[in-house]
């Protein structure tokens, strides 16, 4: 059912505006020094020249801080002391310019938030009302290792349409009915030229060939969890890590959250906030026992979750899309590619203590 559409860039802004009758628009926009990915106000346009955003678009479906319930303790109120649902936004949202690796990350999150055994109403509500209009990456950054992670600069997984920047125009590959509906709402209906499929293929091949950064994690699946957990290299690998949350917050696949109640006078809310395995509060037991009481244990948790526990549980590759945000933003230059490599090479030296 794929269709290729042609959009002259001079018509782009008008189309975005036209689609606002039926959609909220979310997209990349520069805020101070960096690009962020967020809901755009009326009149605000997505910056389609952006490279990457500091934080990923995951916050559109999974806000850093999200109110789940509200309550009042005012005894004269009818619902005193009862948790009330917070009305969610029902308006459709077009997520414009999301990068293919970030769309893939949302599919990874879906395994957690939209699973057979548990359906997260907040995430699913936001997911269902979203239309993902992706933007292919013509010039991958040096830290981009997405082709090693089951995605890539032109990957279509998780997208409703894929846009490709061709200098004076965009080529759009419509992938789903949702994608088609947004194009209609925006008035983008001009069929692309006959040569467009070849153009796309060659641009895709060129972009993929520019990705020099590769990781391999094939051996990790075969290793025993305990061997890897107890491996001697962790002391060395985790030493530089300061256990801040920069990597987990920047990560498009980190999905852990923590639920908190806050009260202001007689009113209160129950909210969930992004959690981070880097913090000493992460999975701290009510008894006071902390299963990961050291920085090393917490650093190890992050990499074991992404590269071992997740692949073992879901059998769908690693919990990483190779966007490189954590590598760029880490104050101590902890590089997931290097850690992955150490884990992957570990079995050959099984039994050796690699402590220096």
């Amino acid at each position: 059912m794929t269709t290729l559409i042609h959009i002259d860039k001079q018509n782009w802004d008008r189309g975005i505006e036209a689609s606002r009758k039926q959609y909220h628009i979310a997209g990349p926009v520069k805020d101070k020094e960096f690009h962020v990915f967020r809901r755009l106000e009326n009149g605000e346009l997505p910056d389609m020249t952006y490279k990457s955003t500091r934080l990923s678009p995951k916050s559109l479906l999974f806000p850093q801080s999200e109110i789940m319930f509200a309550y009042t303790l005012d005894e004269t109120a009818e619902n005193a002391g009862m948790m009330q649902d917070v009305k969610a936004d029902d308006f459709p949202c077009a997520v414009i310019g999301i990068r293919p690796y970030d769309a893939k990350a949302i599919q990874i999150m879906k395994l957690n938030f939209d699973a057979a055994e548990y359906q997260d109403p907040y995430w699913i509500h936001a997911f269902v009302r979203s239309t993902f209009i992706g933007l292919a990456i013509n010039e991958p950054e040096s830290v981009d290792f997405s082709t090693s992670c089951g995605t890539g600069p032109f990957e279509e997984t998780g997208l409703d349409a894929l846009m490709v920047d061709c200098m004076d125009h965009y080529l759009i590959k419509i992938l789903t009915d949702k994608g088609r509906a947004w194009m209609h709402a925006a008035g983008f209906t001009t069929a692309a030229r006959e040569t467009a499929p070849q153009t796309l293929e060659s641009m895709k091949a060129e972009a993929e060939s520019k990705i020099a950064s590769k990781v391999s994690f094939d051996n990790i699946r075969e290793m025993s969890v305990l061997d890897l957990y107890q491996a001697g290299f962790w002391e060395d690998a985790a030493f530089g890590c300061i256990n801040c949350g920069a990597c987990t917050y920047a990560c498009p696949t980190c999905w852990c959250f923590d639920i908190q109640d806050e009260k202001y006078g007689v009113r209160g809310i129950r909210m969930r906030n992004w959690d981070s395995c880097m913090t000493p509060l992460f999975t701290l037991h009510a008894s006071g026992h902390n299963p990961r009481s050291t920085g090393l244990g917490r650093t190890r948790q992050r990499f074991m979750h992404k590269l071992k526990y997740f692949p073992d549980k879901y059998n769908q590759g690693i919990m990483c899309v190779g966007c490189g945000r954590c590598i760029v933003q880490c104050p101590a230059n902890i590089d997931i590619r290097k850690i992955c490599d150490r884990m992957n090479r570990y079995e050959a030296r099984k039994g050796d203590c690699q402590c220096q």
């Binding site: 500091r54 908190q260 104050p331 220096q356």
Partner: protein, 315 residues
Amino acid sequence: MTDATHKIQEISRRILENGKVDKIIGYQKGSMPMMNTPCVIRNPANVGQLVWDSHCRLNLAKYLGNTKERVGIIAKGCDSRNIVMHILENRIQREQMVIIGVPCNGMADKWKLSALVDGEVVAVTEANGNITVTSVSDEKAIPRAQALQENCVLCKHRNPVIYDELTAELVEEPQNMDRHESIRKIESMTPDERWRFFDDMLSSCTRCHACRNACPLCYCPTCFVDESRPQWVGKGMDPVDIRSYHFLRAFHCAGRCTDCGACEAACPMHIPVRLLTRKLEKDCFDRFKWSAGLSLDQRPAMDTYTPNDPNDFFK
């Protein structure tokens, strides 16, 4: 290899081999331009991993922990001042450490260097007093002195204040420098202006706490923001909680901060968090003539009392 790298490796090998220390805390080369990673070396055969260049921004005193081992630690001026603070605060014994002092000419500001060129930085090299930044499509050179982090430009203690070994001759310390121009500018704002200034400054904070975690002073077993029984600070993104975190953290660093700049270098959002700590540092100097970490023989301003204390309520 820089001369400092060569010397650090030579000293480290010697003190590991002759058993003076159990481990060396230093830097190894990072995977990205302008980045190095703090590392620990226990085997003399591995000292070749140690490096020293213009990108050793974090403060290695942070990595001392509360170890009982004997440690060799590489220390530029600010690191050594924080080592003094650790000794004064009874975190570690002077005798446990062999301090390898590095007279410092400042660390390069990765943001300044990145901003020089169009596109992603792929390489940064240094020769003859210039730093050259290369991106995919661009290349620019800048005199090293113009590429420094602000805290290094304002630094008056480039030489280590305590050391057992030195990697080079001591460097000249700048005299009569005005360190607080930007702080006075904020002090002169009206309360409303100041409120808006800090609101805007902190608006991009994600509460990753990299500034705290990079800080050599932040070693509380449970930080007040992590305290949950009872909870002191909200855990969401309420600006009140974000402010509380930054302001209280700065106050907790009063009289202890050496303006090493690790907090600012660590912030992934490039927030000038030193504006907060430097105000307290300025106040400590103005009120008590106290600069942190310069001497093992004097108690810090905030944990001592003298009869001529300028505060009335002490009298």
